[in-house]
């Protein structure tokens, strides 16, 4: 076995140009496939935190007129007592804006972090912990921010730049995309945006009245209501001056955005795949052809055809593994250096699976041509043939 591997390695070194070319092609394939998937992930990353709310019966609550008095507000609260409400709260202090998310949303919002770690809610802390966007004030991990009212914020992580801030806005085709806005430090000067969770806010001394709740909210009933009950609640809310968008419609629009984003890449991925496949098949063919004479010598010295195929496959394994290692390194560099943010580069476990599938596929494809050539070749003829110089 070791002998086969040594011969494979030697044959890899014997034709460096063509083999490095194959390594390069595979490297580009792996990086490109991960890019496409990372692009898709960057959308699901935003959709996942709000998905549990949207997938249950409910609606988005749009106040088209201010509520009339406390009694109206109480009626609304009473109507929605069996519902979970996704609402974003904000606390402003000078150049600082603290966005407060419900605990479950905060936990599932996995925005890429540039530095530090998103804090563990269960761990104790003296100060209110926040994660911050990249900012012109140079505030980073471990820094504390003194706000009005003597409140101290402790920064545990810095998000990548640009990033997203949860902010539910309204659009006629409402989807998860309208629940975020982009934050890019180069446009914000001294402004600093922070995220924290509701439980963290509750533990702090921030006065309740200084925290404002955003206008639009997502209502999600814990249990499925009967048609009559549901319609009754909707009607009462509309009478209170609310417009409603059913969650099902938001889910439909969100799914459409996800599938459109995936769909728009299909032709590009196919075109790319065809180019690369053509290259890999032909390279492995050319490589195997040029190896044939050497293999014929091995055959005459007693190696079986299977061993000859294994030597050729071994060479392809070296090529594929080199490409996989190089692409892993490139992906890590892209992720760490921040270049990935320009492309919405979000890595998940699906990236590992798809990379493994591509590597296996490439091994299979690149093994076919040599196997066919070797099984059909006549070693004696190969050694006596001088037609090709």
């Amino acid at each position: 076995m070791r002998c086969i591997f040594s011969y494979s390695f030697l044959s890899f070194l014997a034709r460096p140009v063509i083999n490095l070319f194959m390594v390069f092609e595979l490297f580009v394939v792996l990086v490109a496939v991960n890019f496409s998937l990372a692009q898709y992930n960057s959308r699901t990353m935003l959709y996942d935190p709000v998905r549990p709310y949207l997938e249950r019966q409910g609606f988005m609550l749009i106040p088209s007129a201010p509520l009339r008095g406390d009694s109206a507000s109480m009626t609304v609260n009473d109507l929605l007592k069996d519902a979970d409400i996704l609402s974003v709260k904000n606390y402003h202090s000078g150049d600082y804006t603290v966005t407060v998310l419900p605990d479950d949303v905060f936990d599932s919002l996995r925005l890429p972090v540039d530095d530090g770690r998103i804090f563990d809610r269960s761990a104790d802390s003296r100060n209110m912990r926040v994660i911050v966007t990249r900012n012109g004030q140079g505030i980073g991990v471990g820094n504390t921010l003194e706000l009005e009212n003597g409140i101290t914020l402790e920064c545990t992580a810095v998000l990548t730049d640009p990033t997203y801030l949860m902010h539910i806005s309204y659009s006629s085709e409402m989807s998860f995309e309208e629940m975020y806005r982009s934050i890019d430090s180069k446009y914000y000067g001294q402004s600093l945006f922070c995220y924290t969770s509701e439980s963290e806010l509750r533990r702090s001394d921030v006065p309740k009245e200084t925290v404002t709740e955003e206008m639009y909210r997502i209502v999600s009933f814990r249990q499925e209501l009967s048609e009559n009950e549901y319609t009754g609640i909707q009607k009462s809310l509309q009478e209170q001056g609310y417009a409603l968008i059913p969650n099902s419609e938001i889910v439909k629009n969100s799914e459409k955005i996800l599938s459109d984003s995936f769909r728009s890449f299909i032709p590009a991925v196919i075109a790319f795949g065809v180019v690369v496949l053509t290259g890999i098949i032909s390279c492995s063919f050319v490589s195997a052809r040029s190896m044939l004479k050497k293999l014929a010598v091995f055959y005459c010295c007693g190696a079986t055809k299977t061993k000859c195929v294994l030597i050729s496959v071994g060479q392809n394994v070296i090529i594929t593994l080199s490409a996989a290692l190089a692409s892993d390194a490139a992906i890590v560099i892209i992720g760490v250096s921040g270049i990935g943010n320009k492309f919405g580069f979000v890595l998940r476990s699906s990236n590992i699976l798809i990379s493994a599938a591509v590597v296996l596929g490439c091994l299979l494809v690149s093994a076919i041509a040599p196997a066919v050539l070797i099984s059909r070749a006549n070693p004696r003829e190969l050694l006596t043939d001088t037609a090709n110089g």
């Binding site: 490109a32 806005r181 982009s182 914000y188 402004s191 299909i266 180019v275």
Partner: protein, 346 residues
């Protein structure tokens, strides 16, 4: 001389087909795929450029906590004077009082040269029946004409008031606007100053780069288009190298028979270019008559990008690019083989 050159080209191609069928097929296939990639990448780049120009290098300023600002009309006028050269769209929300004294939110329709909306009345969404009285509406004590609409959401909100109907007792509560040029920190500062001076208040207006997701997607498309063409060109160059390699003996024979290195070079260049043109024409037919309609399902804007001029331009790029690649890759190999042939003759 020319006749014999073309005869040799024909003969060489025939030899390639007979002796190296697989390589010949793969070469044509590779040339076809490269040309298809060129067509496709051209369309993708056009699409991305269009998308980016639609997004505009714009930023969206907003402020939801605008202090209740009176004289909103004056404020808008002042903002127009201060920064109207860069702001191309405003979105101002004011509070108005209906005939019962209840507060409502209304969007302000700001007149601009691009505005095609009828500015003679207040726009009301159909659902706001309770505010309508015989096609008139009383707002802050003034009776105004109503324009009913099913899609006031498309404009701004449930109620939209043309700028001319604004009165001093309508309070501004929310402001957002788009700016056209490339956003910079300097521009942001200028706008912040203009807004602060106009509306008052201390907190800065936060610019929002529009549609980060779309921009990231477009960047990925760019990267794809570039990588596809690059790999396709590399594939082709690999073939050319291999073809020269498997025909070293033939080059030596030509040299031995007295052909100059330049002549052999020209012969191979013409032969390979002919094969590339066959590949290009195959790709053109495939793209125009088989793939194009399918691509329109994915990218409808493609139908605007491909005219005869564009195909000719793509061909020119393909031909010049191929010629350069061939000259860079093949010529040195041929020269080396020819020199080797010369030495063996000596």
């Amino acid at each position: 001389m020319k006749m014999s050159l073309f005869r040799y080209v024909r003969l060489n191609i025939r030899t390639m087909i007979c002796d190296h069928t697989f390589i010949f097929i793969m070469l044509i296939l590779s040339a076809t795929v490269t040309s298809l990639c060129l067509f496709f990448s051209y369309g993708i780049i056009q699409k991305v450029q269009d998308d980016n120009s639609e997004l505009g290098d714009e930023m969206y300023f907003y402020r939801y906590d605008l202090p209740r600002t009176p004289n909103i009309r004056e404020c808008i006028k002042r903002l127009k004077d201060d920064a109207g050269d860069v702001i191309w769209a405003y979105n101002v929300t004011v509070t108005v009082k209906d005939e019962n004294g209840a507060e409502q939110h209304a969007e302000v329709l700001i007149d601009s040269p691009n505005n095609t909306l009828d500015m003679s009345g207040v726009y009301l969404h159909e659902s706001m029946d309770h505010l309508m009285h015989d096609e008139k509406i009383a707002l802050n004590g003034n009776v105004l004409p109503v324009i009913k609409t099913y899609n006031s959401y498309e404009m701004a909100g449930d109620m939209c008031i043309p700028e001319q109907f604004l009165t001093d007792d309508m309070l501004g509560i929310q402001l957002s606007f788009y700016v056209d040029p490339e956003p910079t920190a300097k521009l942001a500062d200028r706008l912040n100053r203009a807004v602060a001076e106009t509306f008052g208040g201390t907190s800065s207006y936060t610019p929002t780069p529009v549609e980060l997701l779309k921009k990231q997607e477009n960047n990925t498309f760019y990267a794809y288009a570039f990588m596809t063409v690059m790999i396709a060109v590399l594939n082709l160059s690999m073939y050319f190298r291999y073809i020269v390699e498997i025909r070293k003996k033939q080059i030596k024979i030509f040299r031995t028979c007295g052909a100059a290195a330049e002549e052999i070079n020209t012969l191979f260049l013409i032969e390979n270019l002919t094969e590339l043109v066959i590949g290009y024409l195959t790709a053109f037919l495939l793209f125009r008559f088989v793939l194009f309609d399918r691509l329109l399902d994915y990218y409808p804007s493609f139908k605007y990008y491909y005219s005869a001029k564009q195909y000719i331009m793509t061909f020119a790029i393909f031909a010049v690019g191929s010629l350069l690649t061939l000259m860079l890759l093949i010529s040195p190999c041929i020269r080396r083989s020819a020199e080797a042939g010369e030495r063996s003759v000596e």
